[in-house]
């Protein structure tokens, strides 16, 4: 589905991504973990075209999408949500999602017809239903709670019917209870939509409970990859990063 | 357009010297205004569109003080301090209320004050233009340098301005206050987290910017007639200067001001009817190629 080969990117002399090779199979649920500054978000940014890589290939199916613009990449079917919810504060929830649906269908520059286009409504309703925002459809996005804003951010990506969905710390900044609710929702989405889901996460309990495979990044390179059990017992991971979190997770 | 005349001028030493000094002089007064504008933008991230009005106030304050005391030093120092104080009050009472709104509200507050101050000047000092006259100390024949002519007052003016530029540079780079100002410019929340009173810093910077504009107005008073609305053209020019030099860069303001001074000075000979157009053309080109200005930091 998504294959990354020999990816390199440096910012002002600092190597943020330093030769990553990864493969994500269709329909899998992968967690990306790693200490702060490991290059997790940069990795997402490269895949989604926020920056062009200095070197390497990003294969989506068989196409190399490295260096394409974000809209181009998104249109091919890679959606993304952000660590800090990135939404449209002055639009209502419904308007926001309809906007995304319209963009997805290429109607966003239509002048002749009236917004919202009828056919889009149904899809917007479905997306809101999926993330559980139906009741808040007419609220201003900017007035939503933090958790709902994160959900809306994910809903935006979902509206694009992506084949690959990248979630950057979906549970960031939430209380313990909220976190589990959130990841539960995400997990259900993955099951229902049958897509490839890659998420960055710090909470190891969540990671080990939900991820099929885990990729560990450190200093812009892949430190380890494997099933949760393999990672749990991977000596390098324990040494470099997991030790404390592992203990805490146990305790 | 008269490119021939420009070439002829450029090939004669006396013409080059005289036009260059002429450009330097109008550039210097412009620098003082533009430096304040640039400083305020660099630190507060607001464009002080009423900066020209502060220049106007400086000139009128100097006029009143000079008429009352007959002492030019008192007039200049008093006017600069007075405008600085005005800047502080304006920042605390009005400008500080619109930092968190969008740029249009800032524009609006400034525009409101431009209108109010212009009318206030008309009410207080009258609608007719005023002239302060040259202080006796400077009423002496100009100096000749290599065929070029330099009036004594302008020599004084260049000296004062360069001194101020130097002081300003030292203040910003060598003193604790300067470091705080530069830190506050980069990251106001961090600075305030470190226990520094950003309100004080912002007020102080605005006062300093006002002081510079006031100083410029006061120094211009002996040679430029005063009238309500006189701040307008200087605002536009100093605006061009800051954009070209780079918003927030004092060095950029100096280079930009001299550049504009020279464009005008030589433009008068080569393309007298389009000097303003050339300035805007210059500004456009700089913005297109390097939006942050020749000496501004990219961000």
């Amino acid at each position: 589905m998504l294959t990354v080969e020999n990816l390199h990117k440096s910012f002002g002399g600092v190597n943020a991504i330093n030769g990553i090779d990864l493969k994500f199979d269709a329909g899998t649920l992968t967690a990306i973990i790693g200490p702060n500054g490991a290059g997790k978000t940069s990795f997402f940014n490269l895949i989604t075209g926020a920056f062009a890589p200095d070197q390497g290939r990003i294969l989506f199916g068989t196409d190399d999408i490295a260096g394409l613009s974000s809209p181009d990449i998104v249109k091919r079917g890679i959606g993304r949500a952000f660590q800090i919810a990135s939404i449209f504060p002055s639009l209502t929830v419904r308007e926001t999602i309809l906007g995304a649906v319209n963009a997805h269908r290429g109607w966003h520059t239509k002048l002749r017809r009236r917004f919202p286009l009828g056919e889009a409504n149904a899809q917007a309703d479905e997306v809101m239903e999926l993330v559980g925002l139906t009741a808040k459809a007419d609220k201003l996005s900017g007035n939503l709670s933090h958790g709902d804003q994160k959900l809306l951010d994910i809903a935006l990506a979902l509206a694009l019917e992506p084949r690959v969905l990248l979630l950057d710390e979906p549970t960031a900044g939430m209380g313990p209870e909220e976190r589990w609710q959130m990841i539960d929702t995400v997990h259900k989405l993955w099951q229902r939509k049958q897509m490839t889901l890659i998420f960055i996460e710090h909470d190891m309990d969540i990671v080990f409970k939900y991820a099929q495979t885990i990729r560990v990044l450190s200093y812009g390179a892949v430190l380890a990859e494997g099933k949760p059990d393999e990672i749990r017992n991977h000596p390098k991971v324990i040494e470099a990063y997991l030790g404390t979190a592992y203990e805490k997770g146990r305790g | 357009m008269d490119p021939q005349a420009l070439l002829t001028c450029l090939s004669t030493a006396s013409c080059v010297i005289t036009q260059t000094t002429g450009g330097l002089i109008s550039g210097m007064l412009l620098f003082l205004v533009a430096a304040g504008l640039s400083l305020i933008f660099g630190t507060l991230k607001v464009v002080n569109f009423m900066h020209g009005s502060l220049y106007m106030l400086g000139a009128y304050f100097a006029y009143t003080l000079y008429t009352a005391t007959g002492n030019f030093t008192i007039a200049v120092v008093g006017a600069a301090l007075g405008v600085g104080l005005f800047g502080l009050v304006f920042e605390r009472l009005f400008m500080s209320r619109v930092y968190n709104t969008d740029v249009l509200m800032q524009l609006l507050v400034c525009y409101g004050f431009i209108l109010i101050l212009d009318d206030a000047v008309k009410i207080i000092w009258g609608a007719e233009f005023l002239s302060m006259g040259m202080p006796a100390a400077f009423q002496r024949p100009p100096i000749m340098i290599a065929g070029g002519i330099l009036p004594v007052y302008y020599l004084f003016l260049i000296g004062v301005t360069l001194g101020v530029a130097l002081l300003l540079g030292l203040l910003l780079t060598r003193t604790r206050a300067g470091k705080i100002v530069r830190a506050a410019a980069v990251n106001p929340t961090m600075t305030s987290a470190l226990g520094i009173n950003t309100a004080l810093v912002f007020g102080g910077v605005f006062a300093l910017g006002g002081l510079l504009a006031g100083l410029s107005g006061a120094l211009a008073a002996p040679v430029r007639s005063m009238v309500a609305g006189m701040g307008f053209s200087i605002l536009i020019e100093s605006f061009i200067v800051t954009v070209i030099g780079g918003m927030g860069s004092i060095g950029g303001a100096l280079v930009g001001a001299l550049l504009i001074g020279l464009v005008r000075s030589f433009g008068t000979i080569g393309f007298p009817l389009f000097t303003e157009g050339v300035m805007f053309l210059f500004m456009t080109l700089v913005l297109i190629t390097k939006p942050s200005g020749l000496f501004g930091k990219e961000h």
Binding site: - | F129, Y154, S265, P272
Partner: protein
């Protein structure tokens, strides 16, 4: 008048105005017209910005004449009333204000105390609305000379550019010949008036004195603050004489800045707009020996009526009148004479009366001024040149222009321009 007096008066005016604003609310004013209502004269003019003083001095002059007319009983009991409106020096505002004054405030007559740009805009409104209009300040010749721009009900009592140019060139040429001023330069503001005035002056200089050599020109912008680069340019060219039509504050700045370069030690200045009290008094250490045209001087024409008028104005408003003042005063002379004659405010009737009218006036070269019928502009007003001294009477002796010669050359110029 002292500063405090002026402040107080302004403040009182302001409070009154604020009250009126509150009272009038935001409603459209509709004016019932009745025979006992005053005759309203709309005055689009410039009351704010850099030229405010001239607009105010125009309004003041009009007020004096209106008061005089009303005190004498008005027009069969109907009094005159001035409604001045600020165009802020913008032509579109001038046009809009003129329309409003006529259509909204019920003004039956317009006195357009606008500078040239505003006057042309007012002219277009008058073409459409056909009330009587007298332009009092625009000197641009084409306003009345060009038949395409001329309007049947619009007149001009301002001095006219072409007249000034002929007189100026004749005078300047004579001085040049007498003192051997061979090389000349110009320094005039770069806008319509500055360009027209200067090119006409040059044209007649060349015609009257072909031996004169032009060594350059400087074109500062209108309302420029700093003239240094122009002054240095003049210093480079070292002309023996300099012609300039800079005016008011710009001229003052130019003189102050030229002074510190000692420019006038080597160059004789011919500043057409110098001899207006507001300029003469503003310059500190006025250099002697500047040649200037008479804008307004109470000593020229040297008749008691003129001096009395200037003193009366000063007694009432604290300053001497300006060039714009007398031009407005003259307009009122034509207007009131015509009003009494036709006893109506109808634009066409008043225009018929004013066309070709000759009035007695303290501002006439021979005690009278004539509104020439063919192009509806005044001729025979006092115009001349003299040399400044640094204190009153500032220009002790004025050489009057020769109207016979002016009219001859003007006729020729019109033919050349295709206006006649």
């Amino acid at each position: 008048m002292t500063d405090t007096q002026r402040t107080r008066r302004n403040r009182r005016g302001f409070i009154k105005a604020a009250g009126a604003l509150t009272a009038s609310g935001l409603a459209f004013p509709y004016v019932a017209r009745a025979q006992d209502k005053p005759i309203r004269i709309g005055v689009p003019t410039i009351l704010s910005g850099r030229v405010a003083q001239l607009g105010i001095s125009s309004r003041n002059a009009l007020q004096i004449e209106v008061d005089k007319f009303n005190a004498a009983g008005g027009l069969n009991g109907r009094k005159l009333e001035i409604i001045a409106r600020d165009s802020k020096g913008k032509p579109d505002e001038a046009a809009n204000n003129t329309r409003q004054l006529i259509n909204g405030d019920g003004c039956e007559i317009i006195i357009s105390a606008e500078s040239s740009a505003g006057a042309f805009a007012v002219q277009e409104v008058i073409r459409e609305l056909k009330v009587l209009c007298i332009h009092t300040n625009s000197e641009t010749s084409s306003l009345s000379a060009d038949p395409k721009i001329r309007v049947p009900t619009a007149f001009r009592t301002a001095r006219q550019g072409i007249h000034d140019a002929i007189v100026s060139a004749a005078y300047a040429g004579n001085v040049a010949k007498a003192k051997g001023l061979k090389t000349w330069m110009t320094c005039s503001p770069d806008y319509a008036y500055g360009r027209d005035n200067t090119s006409l002056f040059l044209e007649y200089m060349k015609r009257f004195h072909p031996e004169i050599e032009m060594v350059g020109e400087a074109w500062p912008k209108l309302f420029q603050a700093d003239y240094t680069e122009n002054i240095t340019k003049i210093l480079q060219a070292k002309p023996q004489a300099l012609y300039s039509c800079l005016w008011a504050g710009d001229l003052v700045s130019f003189l102050d800045q030229s002074g510190i370069y000692n420019l006038f030690a080597q160059t004789t200045l011919f500043a057409i707009n110098m001899a207006d009290y507001t300029t003469l008094t503003a310059v500190k250490n006025l250099p002697a020996g500047i040649h200037s045209s008479s804008r307004y001087l109470k000593t020229f024409p040297a008749v008691p009526e003129n001096a009395a008028w200037g003193d009366a104005y000063k007694a009432k408003f604290g300053d001497y009148p300006t060039n714009w003042s007398w031009e407005n005063s003259l307009a009122m002379t034509f207007l009131t004479t015509a009003l009494r004659k036709v006893n109506s405010t109808d634009g066409a009737k008043l225009a018929d009366a004013i066309r070709g009218m000759k009035v007695k006036s303290p501002f006439g070269a021979d005690g009278t001024v004539t509104m020439r019928a063919e192009d509806q502009t005044t001729i025979g007003y006092a115009i001349g040149w003299g040399t400044t001294i640094s204190k009153e009477p500032y220009v002790p002796s004025v050489t009057p222009g020769d109207w016979k010669s002016i009219l001859e050359h003007e006729a020729e110029w019109k033919k050349k321009m295709g206006f006649a």
